[in-house]
């Protein structure tokens, strides 16, 4: 297959993730969209790792996995705190910085 194929897949996933970040109101959904974007990047890395036969890509992805896990943990904690304070998960409602 052409290299472009998995790369385009990752681009599609990334775009979907962008859409989700911009559109979704639920805090957790926001995080999920971010996950998608990260995953797209992962696919990119693995593809190039195979193309260039370099294991660096793999290692970086491993690191990304770890960091992402931490990030999600913190993110969920924040969403829960927010839910406790405001009784809402919709990020639209967080408008204290509004003019």
């Amino acid at each position: 297959m052409p290299v472009a194929a998995p790369l385009l897949l990752s681009a599609l996933m990334f775009a979907a993730g962008v859409y989700g970040v911009l559109v979704r109101r639920h805090g957790v959904m926001l995080l999920m969209s971010v996950e998608l974007m990260i995953n797209a990047a992962n696919i990119n890395l693995i593809t190039f790792s195979q193309l260039l036969r370099d294991p660096v890509g793999n290692i970086v992805v491993l690191f990304i996995l770890a960091v992402t896990a931490a990030e999600v943990g913190i993110g969920i904690a924040i969403v829960m705190m927010l839910y406790r304070q405001r009784s809402t998960v919709a990020v639209d409602d967080l408008q204290l910085m509004k003019w």
């Binding site: 297959m1 052409p2 290299v3 472009a4 194929a5 998995p6 790369l7 385009l8 897949l9 681009a11 599609l12 996933m13 775009a15 979907a16 993730g17 962008v18 859409y19 989700g20 911009l22 559109v23 979704r24 109101r25 639920h26 957790v28 959904m29 995080l31 999920m32 969209s33 996950e35 998608l36 995953n39 992962n42 696919i43 693995i46 593809t47 790792s49 195979q50 036969r53 294991p55 793999n58 992805v61 491993l62 690191f63 996995l65 770890a66 960091v67 896990a69 931490a70 990030e71 943990g73 913190i74 969920i76 904690a77 969403v79 829960m80 705190m81 406790r84 998960v89 919709a90 639209d92």
Partner: protein, 162 residues
């Protein structure tokens, strides 16, 4: 070869559809499951591309822990089930932007790689990864450990009932 081709397209298609499903569905839980599917498909792709350890790690970590975390989060913050808390008014603009992003990326990809084929020849040995991880990449490894510890502590502190 053919098997691998077919496998790729199937997995790719699954992944793409799941990703779209995640951002288009109205149900949060469905979205979480869609995410899981997408991640699993991605893991398959990883294995296909010779990154066996990474693929498995992905399933373990992402699907096994992160998505579960998402589900926990959803469950703990649900007000009334079925109440639509999903999309905001930016759909039009966001769609345009997403399309824009995709187009730009696509053009870049195609222009850079065109018809270059991807030969699936290498499989990265786990031992090799392990070696590299503990020799050349030891510093990032330790740093990530600390990061995980910090995240752990942070999450506990943040989520405490105070």
């Amino acid at each position: 070869m053919i098997v691998r081709q077919i496998a790729f397209w199937v997995l790719a298609g699954l992944s793409a559809i799941s990703a779209l499903f995640v951002v288009l569905t109205r149900n949060v839980v469905h979205a979480a499951l869609g995410l899981a599917a997408a991640l699993v498909a991605a893991a398959g792709l990883f294995i296909l591309f010779g990154a066996e350890f990474v693929g498995l790690a992905q399933i373990l970590i992402y699907v096994g822990a992160v998505v579960i975390l998402f589900l926990f989060g959803i469950m703990l913050t649900s007000t009334a089930p079925g109440r639509p808390v999903v999309d905001n008014q930016q759909k039009g603009m966001a769609f345009l932007v997403a399309v824009g992003v995709f187009v730009v990326l696509a053009i870049g990809i195609v222009a850079a790689y065109g018809r270059r084929p991807l030969r699936l020849e290498v499989a990265f040995a786990t031992s090799g990864l392990g070696n590299a991880l503990f020799t050349r990449w030891i510093l990032p490894f330790e740093a990530v450990s600390v990061l995980l510890l910090a995240a752990l502590v942070g999450a506990i502190v943040l989520a405490r009932k105070d």
